[in-house]
């Protein structure tokens, strides 16, 4: 008698459980598929935005390259700022490698190129700018 009651209870529980699992599974699959689709839409939109940003970046790169062309730079330097290309006789070369704040002074004949003392002091055509 007790066994029969237990069997009937199990049967009553299993049937709805089976239906719930079945429905849950079906809805789970549908929900999963729908989430994937939504994600694909989102990725697709983001890809479009990315392409647009890349397009803008390329346009900006082109504009920068054009604005930084020697012709533009010289035009601006000469016409707007009144600069001139330096005469070589007025170009002064300074040491570039040393550290710390600069103290500059003209001291004629202190160092000489290709001079042993100059090389020892670190002044050579290779490390001046």
């Amino acid at each position: 008698m007790i066994k029969m009651a237990q069997k009937s209870m199990a049967s009553c529980l299993l049937k709805p459980l089976f239906v719930i699992i079945l429905l849950g599974g079906v809805f789970g699959i549908v929900w999963l598929r729908s989430s994937i689709l939504t994600m694909e839409y989102t990725i697709s939109e983001l890809e479009c935005k990315k392409m647009e940003k890349l397009r803008q970046a390329k346009m900006l790169l082109a504009e920068r390259a054009m604005l930084l062309s020697m012709q533009k730079v010289e035009k601006t330097a000469v016409r707007s700022l009144g600069l001139v290309f330096p005469d070589r006789t007025r170009v002064v070369y300074v040491k570039a490698a040393a550290q710390g704040p600069l103290k500059a002074s003209f001291e004629e004949n202190r160092y000489r190129f290709r001079d042993e003392s100059a090389t020892a002091a670190g002044v050579s055509p290779d490390n001046v700018r």
């Binding site: 012709q71 290309f85 070589r88 070369y93 055509p125 001046v128």
Partner: protein
């Protein structure tokens, strides 16, 4: 009640059976046909965008890059009113209304209206909201520096295939394979991402050119063209030790951004495609050969006092009567008579052998399309007067690059280098994937090269033919050339048309640059020392400043910086 139940069950079973039969029909019997039909509706094929790599100068400054634009197309079958649409599109794009109408009225479902519209025009066309009009992403090659180095960089056609210059020579490196990707789309036409990279990028190329030097060269060539009202001009600057081309320019030139507006002769890279008779710059061959073969010494005398020399029926003149000249002075003063005498001592076989060794009559191997080999006839094909012509640069055809390469061999101690314009290829991510290597061949001993270098230095000193090529603060070694052009009408040397040139290197004792300047058909003056040498001087001075090459007389003027 039981009877009703049976009827209901039977009806349900029947309906279910119909559904099963239909499903069987759809899923099994007609599966293939229906699946294909569904695929056609749901899938959309899209081309992978192929984007060419950039072309950069040696410091990474962009010489060629891509713009992302849109191309306009139409579906003639889907147009409402072609006439109205054509008129509206004409007002925005600037194309003739009739031409657009012809396209809108054509048959089929796809016709290009205009490729690669600029962004402003694209926005305006989109605002028109015309039916049957569509846009497709397209890439346009853009050259931000315009004319600068246009004959080296080259250009591409409407489909971005290389047509000239580096764009053609390295097309395989710059572009990469495309392909097609299938996208799922919904009923409204929205596409779903497949997670595929839709852009295929080519490799970037880094050139040996320096935009700063190139600009200097081009500015000075423009100035020379204007000053001498020349028909054309060429200048090449090269590192004499490596063969790296630092700058190469020709005039006339063109803007690769508007190819349709340029002419064939403007697009020609004369530095490698055009031959000319080099004149006195070719005296390097007899000069170095004579020293190398020990036929002469620096002080060997040559009697040039008559100012002429007869070779067969031909009489060759010097520009001025010089008297007795040493071998060194023959080169310094560019004596034709003396050079022919040196050539006669050498003999035609040795002249030919050294000319070939210096690379004349053969392509230099530069990595640009269209190079010609020039011409130097083998000794057995020389005429009776050839021994009076070849030593002074006549009866030979050379390119400016060949001449520069030969002088670079003097500058670097006797090695013949391979000129080149590409230094390396970078992947889209910036990794080096290829770097060309070039060998060098010894053509003369370093001793001969040093000796001849000293002779070439005297050319720009007092008593030389090219004092105007001398650079403040640095020694210049070089040679002038003034050659007559064959008149195509008379088949004889023209008395009016000349090619003036100067080729040299600076600083002479520690060369940083080797350069040639060639001016074709200058008006007013003809001599290389007057026409081309000043151009060399101006370019060299700016280039040395730009390259931070100190003056050799700097000792007393240096700014000492203490910390």
């Amino acid at each position: 009640m039981r009877k009703r139940g049976i009827i209901l069950n039977t009806a349900l079973c029947f309906v279910f059976l119909i559904v099963v039969v239909r499903l069987f029909d759809i899923m099994i019997v007609n599966h293939k046909r229906l699946y294909a039909k569904a695929q056609m509706q749901q899938l959309k094929g899209e081309d992978i965008r192929v984007r060419r790599g950039m072309i950069l100068d040696r410091h990474g400054r962009e010489l060629a890059l891509n713009l992302e634009l849109e191309s306009l197309y139409c579906d003639p079958a889907g147009m409402d009113s072609p006439e109205k649409s054509a008129a509206a599109l004409s007002s925005v794009t600037g194309k003739p209304s009739r031409a657009i109408l012809t396209k809108l009225s054509s048959e089929g479902h796809f016709v290009w209206i205009q490729r690669k519209l600029d962004p402003d025009t694209t926005t305006k066309v989109k605002e028109l909201k015309l039916k049957g009009i569509g846009f497709m992403n397209d890439s346009k090659r853009y050259y931000p520096k315009g004319h600068l180095a246009s004959q080296i960089v080259g250009f591409v056609n409407i489909d971005n295939k290389g047509i000239e210059g580096i764009e053609l020579k390295y097309d395989g490196y710059l572009s990469s394979g495309g392909g097609k990707v299938l996208f799922s789309r919904d009923a409204s036409g929205k596409t779903l991402s497949q997670g595929v990279e839709m852009e295929s990028k080519g490799n970037n190329l880094v050139l040996t050119l320096d935009e700063g030097l190139q600009y200097t060269v081009e500015v000075e060539l423009d100035r020379a063209m204007e000053q001498w009202r020349a028909s054309a001009a060429t200048a090449i600057m090269m590192d004499p030790f490596t063969g790296e081309i630092l700058a190469l320019a020709n005039r006339p030139s063109f803007d690769p951004n508007s190819i349709s507006g340029s002419k064939n002769f403007e697009r020609r890279n004369r530095a490698i495609t055009d031959c000319y008779e080099p004149g006195s710059t070719f005296k390097i061959i007899v000069g170095t050969a004579a020293l190398e073969e020990k036929v002469v010494s620096l002080d060997s005398p040559f009697d040039c006092s008559r100012g002429t020399i007869e070779i067969g029926k031909r009489v060759v003149h010097d520009a001025h009567k010089h008297g007795v000249l040493t071998f060194k002075e023959v080169i310094q003063k560019s004596s034709n008579v003396g050079s022919i005498m040196v050539g006669m001592r050498l003999g035609k076989e040795r002249i030919y052998r050294y000319a070939k060794a210096f690379g004349f009559g053969e392509k230099t191997g530069i990595d640009l399309p269209g190079e010609v080999s020039g011409l130097i006839r083998p000794p057995e094909r020389w005429s009776g007067v050839s021994i009076g012509s070849v030593p002074i640069g006549q009866e030979v055809a050379v390119t400016p690059l060949q001449v520069l390469r030969a002088y670079s061999a003097i500058a670097n101690g006797g090695m013949l280098v391979t000129p080149h314009v590409v230094s390396r290829a970078l992947s889209p991510e910036g990794e080096e994937i290829w770097k060309p290597t070039f060998g060098a061949t010894r053509v003369i001993s370093s001793r001969t090269a040093e000796t001849f270098k000293d002779i070439l230095k005297t050319v720009t000193e007092e008593g030389g033919t090219a004092k105007s090529a001398a650079v403040n603060g640095n020694n210049v070694a070089g040679k002038t050339g003034t050659a007559q052009i064959i008149d195509p009408r008379t088949k004889r040397y023209s008395t009016e048309k000349f090619v003036s040139s100067f080729v040299g290197f600076v600083p002479a004792d520690d060369p940083k640059i080797a350069m040639i300047v060639v001016v074709y058909e200058p008006k007013g003056q003809i001599y290389g020392g007057v026409v081309a040498a000043p151009v060399f001087k101006r370019i060299a001075e700016n280039a040395l400043s730009y390259l931070n090459v100190p003056r050799e007389d700097i000792h007393g003027n240096m700014l000492v910086v203490a910390r």
